[in-house]
């Protein structure tokens, strides 16, 4: 069957297999004034799918605050850009690679890292840090162990080889991810403010250049398999899993950065999802021009590739550029030096059409505006679920004698134990600028050759987001903000990765809407805008969706690295204070979940006014050299945070708590709190400063000894805590 004879009516399933709805197809026909051929159909299908078009999310994403004093580039480019003084900028973004990682955890995660790295160095930045936000199913699920090991190995395999430190991240286990794991990768890069590169093609007649690896049949949309077109073909045509090649990416990185020093690049765009299709269309659309491409010129790895396959291949480690024609041979030589493909495959035109030729025959001709501006956009129905209600937790059900055993059980739990097993598989020190390594709050990476640094943290609490999407969305933003504050940095901006279930279900869409609303509220109040992000919908298997997971990656600035803070306790005799009020919010806490096996009650609410006041107070203390260590109080509550400080610094502590309901005080998850360590000498000063700022502060106890002691009654040695805290991953994966 020839492509041009193909008819919609007789092959309705072909349209469906391309994920296009009937009315979407109708609008293609209307726009083109004819039916598309197969190549064109493939292009529309790639551009109009959720991943590229944001058709379900666009309307809502616009509600997020995206501007601020330091925002140089908000959402819309390959990555967002913020000003970090002295002509320097930080460039960052987070992206999901959920589905590929479920299919093949090593390669899926590895190519996820490769993809986000390209997004950042396309902008002209040298990547300086990677992070990863991971979610797996419950640990007893038969697939979890394999997926966990593979994903961690894949992230390490790629990041280690390319030589960019992986400095942080997060990992959770929850049954809602049994059938859909989440692998979100974030990269931060550093560039000069006047040397940022964008993707808008310009200059009629300028050459369009393909660089990087050759194109194979990697990751071509599954729809092609089901289409009749391939019936008579053998195994050969099966789309294949994308395999990452970090070595080639390293060469591509160095070659691109080398070329960027010359005034040769007019526009540059990496080939990510939907490869050549999305990159070429993006460049044309941004530049309001047309492109003409000769597909015969595309470097190919496999034989007999069709126009359809070339346009939809997701082979990794490739880039598209428009260059200054007078610099062509200079550019070619740079790529040759790095042993990379460099091919002029087309030119910029004034037609505003995407024209594809192959072997002298026109394979496609689509007006860019139909692909982009006419892309579907939906305001899907949504239902907002009532947030879960507060339950009464009665003190009588708790015995004070269980405090220490409960603590041990909690810090041994997969969701709260040390992630050392993970980060030790990542080179987190290469580039010799990692000032705060994983295991503290935010990681801190020095801007090379200076005395300033950026603090980075990723966070999200899906349980909060499920049971109160608005507060959950608020919380995800605030949690990174707190982590950045606790490391001594001023929070500046965030990137997000919105992982949700099927948006065609009103309840799921409601979760999305509410999370966005919560995020927007925190972002505006804290002057902490969203500058880039990614949406991953349809994370569902057999009708069961994941918990709403808006993973947030926050970035802050430390102007003077001598003011960097870590969580480890520093010295005997120092005083520990709690900043922020503790009411003992055990509802929906890790305590209930881990110890009582219950996920119930209300989600703790965030008062943004108090949040900001407390955070700024802590930052003032750090700036004034008044604290020796700081840790925010997050999941698990005060005692978990205290234990983490003890373990990190290898010091004991004596805590005095005159509260009746000890469990609630120690394990409750009230928001807006930090633990700080201050010397006796500075104690009064800190108390006075708190009073001046009307910040709630309580003295909790003293640093000292080798045990964690509560009211002289309950105690446990730090050595035992460390042992229990570091056991899980090794045992689990070693079995």
């Amino acid at each position: 069957m020839s492509i041009s004879n193909w008819k919609y009516n007789t092959e309705q399933s072909l349209v469906e297999n391309h994920g296009l709805k009937h009315d979407e197809f109708e609008s293609i026909v209307e726009g083109l004034g004819r039916e598309p051929n197969l190549t064109e159909l493939g292009i529309f299908s790639a551009m109009w799918n959720e991943h590229c078009s944001y058709k379900s999310s666009k309307y809502w994403l616009k509600k997020l605050p995206t501007s601020g004093d330091r925002v140089v580039q908000g959402p819309g480019e390959n990555a967002g850009v913020i000003d970090i003084d002295d002509g320097d900028v930080a460039v960052f973004k987070m992206e999901s690679h959920n589905h590929p990682s479920f299919i093949e955890p090593y390669q899926g995660a590895a190519t996820g890292v490769g993809g986000i790295l390209r997004d950042v160095f396309t902008m002209g930045a040298r990547p300086v840090a990677n992070l990863n936000a991971l979610r797996f199913g419950e640990i007893d699920h038969p697939k979890t162990k394999h997926l966990l090991s593979g994903v961690v190995e894949g992230i390490g395999g790629y990041g280690n080889c390319i030589g960019i430190p992986t400095v942080g991240g997060e990992v959770n286990f929850h049954p809602s991810y049994n059938g859909n794991i989440l692998v979100n990768a974030m990269t931060v890069g550093i560039a000069k403010k006047d040397k940022i590169f964008y993707s808008a093609a310009a200059g009629i007649g300028n050459p369009v250049v393909y660089v990087g690896s050759k194109t194979g049949r990697d990751g071509i949309h599954g729809a092609t398999m089901a289409s009749a077109e391939f019936d008579d073909d053998s195994e050969d045509k099966k789309p294949t899993v994308q395999v990452g090649d970090p070595f080639t990416e390293k060469l591509l990185l160095e070659a691109c950065l080398e070329l960027m020093k010359e005034e040769a690049i007019i526009a540059i765009q990496d080939m990510g999802a939907a490869g050549l299709t999305s990159s070429s269309i993006e460049m044309a659309s941004k530049g309001n021009v047309g492109l003409e491409i000769d597909l015969t010129k595309v470097p190919m790895r496999a034989q007999n590739m069709t126009a359809y396959e070339l346009m939809l291949s997701e082979s990794q480690e490739r880039m598209l550029m428009v260059i200054d024609p007078t610099k062509e041979s200079l550019a070619r030589n740079i790529f040759r030096k790095w042993d990379l493909e460099f091919e002029v495959i087309g030119k910029v035109t004034d037609t505003k059409n995407l024209v594809l030729n192959m072997n002298g025959k026109e394979e496609a001709c689509i007006p860019i505006n139909i692909l982009v501006e006419d892309a579907p956009e939906y305001q899907r129905d949504y239902i907002i679920r009532e947030p879960s209600k507060r339950i009464k937790i009665i003190q009588d059900q708790f015995d004070q004698k269980t405090i220490i055993p409960d603590l041990i059980e909690m810090i041994s739990h997969p969701n709260l134990c040390s992630r050392k097993w993970i980060w030790e598989q990542y080179d987190h020190m290469v580039m010799a600028d990692t000032i705060v390594r994983p295991g503290s709050d935010a990681a801190v990476v020095r801007v090379h050759g200076t005395n300033k640094g950026i603090a980075i943290s990723t966070d999200c609490s899906p349980i909060y987001c499920k049971h109160n999407s608005f507060e959950g969305g608020k919380h995800a933003i605030v949690e990174t903000w707190r982590n950045i504050i606790a490391s001594g940095a001023l929070p500046i901006a965030v990137t997000d990765c919105m992982n949700f279930g099927n948006p065609e279900k009103p309840e799921i869409m409601g979760e999305f809407v509410e999370c966005i609303r919560g995020m927007a509220e925190s972002c505006s109040y804290l002057n902490y805008p969203v500058i880039s992000g990614n949406v991953s919908l349809y994370n569902e298997t057999n009708g069961v969706g994941i918990y709403p997971t808006p993973a947030i990656g926050g970035v802050g600035l430390i102007k003077d690295l001598s003011k960097t803070m870590t969580i480890g306790l520093k010295n005997e005799g120092n005083i520990i204070c709690v900043i922020g009020e503790t009411s003992g919010h055990l509802n929906m806490s890790q305590y209930l979940s881990i110890i009582k096996n219950k996920e119930e009650g209300s989600v703790p609410e965030i008062n943004l006014e108090i949040e900001k006041k407390n955070g700024m107070f802590v930052l003032d203390c750090i700036e004034g050299h008044l604290t020796l260590s700081v840790h925010d109080i997050g999941e698990g509550g005060l005692l978990i945070a205290m234990s983490e400080m003890c373990m990190a610094g290898n010091f004991g502590v004596q805590i005095e708590v005159k509260k009746e309901f000890l469990h609630a005080y120690l394990f409750g998850e009230d928001q807006g709190r930090y633990l700080i360590e201050v010397s006796e000498k500075n104690y009064e000063k800190v108390i006075a400063l708190a009073k001046d700022n009307s910040v709630h502060i309580e003295k909790l106890g003293f640093v000292g000894g080798t045990d964690l002691k509560i009211n002289h009654l309950n105690k446990v040695s730090i050595a035992q805590l460390v042992e229990k805290n570091s056991e899980f991953f090794e045992k689990y994966t070693g079995e």
């Binding site: 093949e104 990697d218 294949t240 070595f247 496999a302």
Partner: protein, 79 residues
């Protein structure tokens, strides 16, 4: 009983290692090398009497652990 298992990448799956090795052989002066594909070769010593049972078990081992069927093929031979 000694079993010899070959694990190879499926056709069309990118083999970054093979690519680099081929280039490097060319540079070393072996210009007639056109392509290199790198796979695994695993020798398993197994204590079984019956070749059929052994073979069946070896296939299972490949499916469960030794090969990554998403991107690799395997073959089992028994000496």
């Amino acid at each position: 009983m000694l079993a010899k298992i070959h694990i190879t990448l499926k056709k069309d799956v990118l083999d970054p290692q093979g690519k680099v090795v081929a280039n490097s052989l060319n540079t070393l002066g072996f210009e007639t090398v056109q392509d290199v594909r790198q796979g695994k070769y695993i020798e398993v010593t197994i204590d079984e009497e019956d070749t059929d049972i052994a073979k069946q078990k070896l296939n299972q081992m490949c499916e469960k652990l030794l090969a990554n069927l998403v991107i690799e093929d395997y073959s089992v031979e028994i000496e």
